[in-house]
């Protein structure tokens, strides 16, 4: 019994059907709890007032925007190396979810920036990097849509994802070099273990992060299931056509 067994589309479908109901409940409840807690039951920040509360949606969305791309990269590599169709379809399914997360991060960032920096948009390195990430997502999705043969599309988008990842990281550093920016530093540096956020803010933030993470997972799983069913329909029609 190995993990790769679930690379079989039918087995994967069966598993995801069993897992999904539970996952939806967990994802939606933790997102709702995290956001409500953050919005209504935390004190205002001394300097930023109540505007700080947008952090409970902004930060988790930004986190998932990057993680979604990273997941697509891993899935693409698995497809290129092991040729598991589920993997390629999972990457395809994750992209629109990732693009929505990126959009949420960008829009909430703009809404937050208006009272804080006095403008909707600044060419700050972090914001700019997310805009660039958004462009990479668009290109990736457009390439999937443009190619008819599914294996060809999977191969080409997988290579694009790899090359795109390198260039996205490169752009991140280039943008940093280009403009030092206004954006505050990261609130929860993982490496040092210290954090600049007090516990009252941190707990609901953590819950919303878990919530959006689970939501991403559930949506991607669900969409992967849809992609598998579409391919299955095609495969069944192909078999019909031969008889």
């Amino acid at each position: 019994m190995s993990l790769w067994e679930y690379a079989n589309p039918v087995k994967f479908l069966r598993l995801s059907e069993r897992v999904l109901p539970m996952l939806w409940v967990l994802a939606i409840s933790s997102t709702v709890v995290g956001l409500l807690w953050g919005f209504f039951f935390t004190p205002d920040d001394i300097r930023q007032g109540s505007t700080v509360k947008i952090i409970y949606i902004h930060v988790p969305a930004a986190l998932m925007a990057i993680n979604a791309w990273f997941m697509m990269l891993v899935a693409s590599l698995i497809w290129l190396i092991r040729r598991h169709h589920v993997s390629a379809l999972a990457a395809k399914a994750a992209a629109p979810v990732g693009v929505v997360m990126t959009l949420i991060a960008l829009i909430t960032g703009a809404i937050w920036g208006q009272p804080m920096w006095g403008t909707w948009w600044v060419w700050d390195p972090r914001l700019t990097s997310f805009l660039i990430l958004f462009l990479f997502y668009l290109g990736y999705i457009a390439l999937w849509e443009a190619i008819e043969d599914s294996d060809t599309a999977a191969d080409l988008t997988a290579v694009l994802c790899m090359v795109g990842s390198v260039f996205a990281v490169l752009s991140r550093y280039a943008v940093n070099f280009w403009n030092q920016g206004l954006h505050q530093g990261t609130s929860i540096p993982v490496a040092t273990g210290e954090r600049s956020v007090a516990d009252v803010f941190f707990v609901p933030l953590l819950i919303s992060m878990v919530g959006l993470g689970l939501l991403f997972f559930a949506l991607t799983l669900y969409r992967t299931g849809t992609e598998i069913r579409m391919r299955r329909t095609k495969a069944l029609l192909a078999r019909e056509g031969r008889n």
Partner: protein, 206 residues
């Protein structure tokens, strides 16, 4: 030298079209492939030439030995006949193109731009390209399209002299070329039946 094709199953658009194709081609032999349109002759030739992956089976002796010619000849309208030929000769590490010009009676056209040639003349130029590759195995897909009877005879002579000098040819064609050393292989019996596995990208989802 031998080209061996063993139990080759080829796919078009993810579905198998011909299954378990096997044959052996020896030095000096030609094999004519026949079969109705859409049966998969082009796909078979492309697979043997290494342009397409096969589903099953093996092609041996083809590595870096094949000169492939299909419907489109890779000719550039804005280059002259000589320039087109010399380019392909150099790509394949050859230098002499005069014998190819002679074999397909292109000497008088050598300075004309390929774009100004007639369809038949273009086809002759495309076939002359085979001679400048120096490759022993010719894999030809409908080589006589738009050729008149004289040109077809010219082509048959070229193939025969290629075979005599130790070459081989694998040709998909509908007309009788009159080549002595040629065997005929009808691919119809190889049409993939319904019990042939359909390839992982379909099979995985059933």
């Amino acid at each position: 030298m031998t080209l061996t094709v063993t139990n080759l199953t080829i796919i078009r658009g993810g579905l198998p079209v011909l299954a378990d194709v096997s044959f052996v081609l020896e030095t000096g032999q030609a094999l004519i492939l026949r079969g109705p349109n859409g049966v998969g002759k082009t796909t078979l030739l492309r697979t043997i030439a290494g342009l397409q992956p096969s589903l099953n089976g093996k092609v041996s002796g083809a590595q870096d030995q094949i000169a492939y010619a299909a419907h489109s000849d890779g000719l550039k309208a804005m280059l002259s006949v000589t320039e087109n030929l010399s380019f392909w000769a150099e790509v394949f590490g050859q230098s002499d193109i005069s014998h190819a010009l002679v074999a397909f009676e292109l000497e008088n056209l050598s300075d004309r731009l390929a774009g100004t040639l007639s369809a038949g003349q273009k086809r002759r130029l495309g076939l002359a390209r085979l001679l400048v590759t120096g490759r022993p195995i010719w894999v030809l897909d409908e080589p006589t399209v738009s050729l008149d009877t004289t040109s077809v005879a010219m082509f048959a002579v070229a193939v025969e002299s290629h075979l005599k000098s130790g070459g081989m040819a694998l040709i998909a064609t509908h007309i009788d070329l009159g080549i002595e050393q040629a065997n005929v292989l009808d691919v119809t019996p190889f049409i993939a039946r319904n019990d042939v596995a359909m390839g992982s990208s379909v099979e995985a989802f059933l």
